[in-house]
Symmetry: D2
Subunit: 403 residues, 4 copies
């Protein structure tokens, strides 16, 4: 276990702390949570290193559960160049029996993946790890039914909220696997790296929370911005809404126009507040308004914050640059430069810009990601890399596709 | 003259006040400016009624100056169905001699418009009124040189800012026609209707200010929202940037992505603040961040406000509904309904939605317009209608084009 | 009258010739067919004039059946400015009870239309005419059940094919109203104008056939192009596929890409061939390949033809210019100028360009329409105008919306 | 060697056959031409292997000339994952001194590339090979001035046409490097592979010719389709027009619409005809009409052909499947399946579908590529790989990005 590449163990005592950028987290531990105790819990997972999982070639056999949606396809797209992942099962109950390239013709050359199967027909004894891309609610039961030896990165919302009462409030039903929930590690990679390394179940963050918490977490933690009055105006591409047919997602209903949705009621709200509260050490409540923009991929969060006494936008920028200095996927832009969603398209990057506001004492933070990559499948692979003990960037170094 | 349809004269004494919605403006007069004195100044313009301008058919001969850009074309598009406007001159110095449909092939059936001419070649003695669609700075001199009998609606920024020092600060040069500036009336139609009726020079508002001030003006005026802490996250379609070629406006640089621009430095900022300060009766300073979205037309302003003590989102919505009740072009949506830019495409409508915010005491206001219509040429025609004394809605009742 | 093509004969001798614009048709009669005869047969329909339909105001009470789709909404959009149409019923069985603007928020100001109703709940005795925007197959029965006094413009495919065997072959079921079929007039307005004037049931053409037959009909009829070897490469915007949810129409499946569909098997094929065969006087068989392009509206047909001996592209262009010279909605562009779909957006225009091909003896014809307007609801209103005896251009003179 | 077509003869006797995949070419030799011969001529270039170019690490130092356009950026994007290419110089005269990521912010993590330089400031003695992404005409002189030891893949049109008279006719000026022209090898990789391997100067094909000639070359060569009556209706994304600002490429002029351009006069015409004539062994003249479609990347050619006696669409499909069976980048789809441009986005793939036409004896071939990858920079890298003697697929195995 000590040989694992990134992050190593997370016990505060020895924290090897790579990348160095995360030293700022010392107060709260490697995973950014007060009283973090991931070291202890790491023990049962000590066999997680890739060499332990699969004899021979350093290749983990992974299943993609719910592979007929965009996030499933994106795992396969990125996985195709990943030397340590072998896609051994693809499930999609209603499309079982089809070739994967019948459902996703752009992956016509991914001929080494299995055809789609019903989840009940998968022999999970041949599976080392799974990406779970299923709808929320169903996810809980399925993950609970998997052999415990399987590492899971879950892209649904089912295990993101620690408080199952909050889960019920926002998702409208009792949680079906509360015990498993306790075990889940929130997979915002750059913040909770060491806990992820030792996790059996990673709750991959939502796209909005990723774009918002990456810039805000360190700033709140370092008390550079105030916990009150955070206003987040977020904009998303349409892949964020998934592939199931609905009138509201038709080309003609989306093209050449935009609108807000889920005003004051979007389900990512409690997830954002949970993560930011962890950062601040106090409950944080935010204003969060998502908008749908006529683009397939891309997410932009424009974040308006009140700075702490004596802090300027330059302070914020410097703090973020320092915090993320060694990170391969988070880049803080120089003053006067602002990010565009199209410049991260297809990549695992998060670009962040910071500007003084015209209102005294306030700053504007602009954060962009590709919602399907860093906001979903890319971060899932990044987390899986940590879980498997391979280089965190493996399979993720493709440049953005622009134009 | 007293028989003119909309607005009538604005002397407080007799204020015929139609639509009734604008009664709320009593404190500041019909044009919403403290100490408004438009009644007196109306006198010199008493000959403005259309019947006075042109003998015979009730048709004003209008020039469109700077007709090769999008706003110029939009005046011609809307004007084509306007029974009281005859387009008598179209200028575009670099395209002089061309048929208008060579420059705008979509207007191929507008065969009754003249060909493009140099501005110096226009005989302005045959012109009753002009839409000025020229770039800022050049506009000042040209308008100053026109015969004073010509009514002008100016779509540039040149006469929007009352304070020429502010103009210089944001536009980088001394104002060339400060005397004319004093005469200009700010053309936010629903707010300054009566002053516009008696104006010789209307400074047509910018697109962002229109989308922002229509909802905020009455709320500030009625002290329902606080003047501090107004945060405006605005999004625009690409026509807002005009038709001149630039790399940043190329299809491939704009499609499938979005970004903020002019962060804390957009030139519409002082115009917004001037208008909102008029409403509040005190200087108002706002946070304003515009974004460019991959759509041709459409503008959305998401406005975050702190409400006054005891006020709720329902209060705001009711106040706006009351204020705009009789207005043909401003519609305040019921609770739980939010506007989309595509639903006003091609129309002169402004749709407004109001929502409680998750942050206590705050509300979110969503306002959409078509930036080329209510944000430019449509409002210009609306203002021209007022100036000419014809029904304010003439030529503007086409339904939005969706999809 | 039994000889009406898709309705209406039209004797050269008496050609009632309205509008006067169509004098170019003298050689072939009002229907554009050699020696056909319809004037006499107009007698039974002489009560069609609008003043006969509705006492008093010259306004026909119309129903829009199937009003929750794009073509239904487009009838309402265009009808809103139509002085002779009063929308008296809107049906949509699954949305019955909703306000129309709940289903189409862009028509929020169309407050004078009734709410959506079930078709069985409509009292058709108060209806003078109907636009039928229902899916094919169901349409047949519903139209057959309407009171015979109601004039109908049917936008479905149900009555376009004269030969019910052909209908069965392409649409997969027996025709349910074969007698009614015999009465139907094919509504390609500029070609079959006089027959439409006297029709009770107009089969409004498909979008592809409209864009193809308007240029090809006169050329085949005048034997300027050969009936063999016609190759049509057509491209459509996505509204052509309707509003019902389907994965293939989702924004993310359509944006930033294109593809052919229905290759050699599209259902508009027999309609195109029927119309062109009528023109040629011999069976015509064409190659027709439609493509889906990421735009909401717009249709472009690129038509490759072999010219007759001695004919040049200039001959073709001149013939079309002569034929359509007085038409308000069909414009033939000068040599070297080619049409763009965006230049007819929202309008009832058909723009046509003609070019010599690099292959000897061949020419290329480019034809664009807005598929929802001239390709559907606009032509439907144009036909309804003829049926009601009002000016053919009523309600249709809005300029295209560009950009 | 003087017999090389666009370079390279290729003797059937010794066909070196790399990659083994191309065994299907045995009948016509490695170049795909009957009886041509190139193996022998490989001798002078035997030093082309990468190990000869650069001592030590198997890495070639490459320059990208004209790196501020889309094709230059695309070479850098793809090259970033290429283990055998080190980008040692990037030129862009007007942007010299800027960081590459200032000009292309999406490549912000490509920190190991040099800043932009003037071409005159590059020390070409440290350069092994060059991608030339300059405008045509200037290209000729610059390539002629490079040290002869430098291998060049030229993405301009300057060396594609063997006949300099044809060049002059279509490009309007005398060719400035006619001797160099004789040496150039036409870089349609799958067809002229062996000649490319031994080339010093590769004329990378145009995007339209690539999408057209890959399917048509083997079919004409095998005499399965007739050389007369080939009609090509092609559609391109907007990147094909480059990055220089022009009104016709603005977002608002391109979005939500389409049109044909360069009708019967596009400069890719002679290139297509040259290549197809080589295939047929006789002069071939085609009808070719390009269209501009509102998408950033993607190209689709819909090709209408007359088949030879007794040939069916199935014959064509089988022949293409056989011919391209072992090719990594050309995939021929099964019957009834047709390609979409979005399914090759960002990849070097060419997908081909074949359908029977409704016209007897005719077939329809649908061919899609990403115009910036297989249509430009991807094929350039593929050719460079051949020139350098490394695996042809190196750096090109990323999956397409969809949606």
């Amino acid at each position: 276990m000590t040989t694992r590449l990134h992050g190593g163990g997370c016990p505060p005592a020895q924290a090897p702390a790579r990348p160095s950028s995360v030293r700022a987290l010392q107060k709260y531990g490697r995973d950014g949570r007060p009283g973090c105790a991931c070291g202890a819990t790491a023990a049962p997972q000590e066999s997680r290193a890739l060499s332990d999982i699969q004899v021979g070639e350093g290749v983990a056999r992974v299943a993609v559960l719910g592979a007929s949606g965009y996030t499933g396809a994106e795992v396969v797209r990125l996985g195709a160049l990943h030397p340590n992942l072998k896609i051994a099962a693809l499930t999609a109950d209603r499309q079982a029996g089809k070739a994967f390239s019948d459902v996703f013709p752009h992956l016509v050359t991914a001929t080494d993946v299995p055809e789609l199967a019903k989840i009940d027909d998968v022999d999970f004894h041949n599976i080392d790890a799974a990406f779970c891309c299923l709808p929320h609610a169903t996810t809980q039961k399925i993950i609970a039914s998997l052999p415990p030896s399987i590492r899971v990165v879950d892209l649904s919302a089912d295990f993101r909220l620690r408080d199952t009462a909050t889960y019920k409030e926002w998702y409208g039903g009792d949680h079906q696997a509360p015990e498993l929930q306790k075990e889940a590690v929130y997979g915002l990679t750059e913040i909770f790296r060491s806990a992820i390394q030792s996790a059996r179940l990673v709750a991959n963050p939502g796209c909005y929370p990723t774009s918002i918490c990456l810039p805000l977490f360190p700033l709140l933690q370092q008390q550079l911005v105030q916990k009150d009055g955070i206003i987040i105006d977020a904009k998303s591409g349409v892949t964020g809404a998934g592939r199931s047919p609905a009138e509201s997602k038709l080309f003609c209903e989306v093209a050449d126009g935009m609108h807000a949705y889920g005003v004051s009621s979007h389900r990512h709200m409690p997830e954002i507040e949970q993560c930011l509260s962890d950062a601040a050490g106090f409950p944080v409540r935010v204003s969060f308004t998502p908008h749908l923009v006529p683009m397939s991929r891309g997410m932009m969060s424009t974040i308006y914050v009140q700075m702490s006494e004596g802090v300027t936008a330059n302070t914020l920028r410097s703090a973020l640059q320092h915090f993320y200095d060694a990170e391969p996927f988070v880049k803080v832009l120089p003053a006067g430069t602002f990010p565009q969603t199209r410049h991260v398209r297809g990549s695992n990057l998060n670009l962040i810009g910071v500007s003084e506001d015209r209102l005294s004492g306030r700053a504007i933070i602009l954060s962009v990601i590709d919602n399907l990559v860093k906001g979903a499948s890319g971060q899932a692979i990044q987390n899986m890399n940590l879980v498997l003990g391979v280089d965190e960037t493996t399979g993720l170094m493709q440049q953005p596709l622009f134009p």
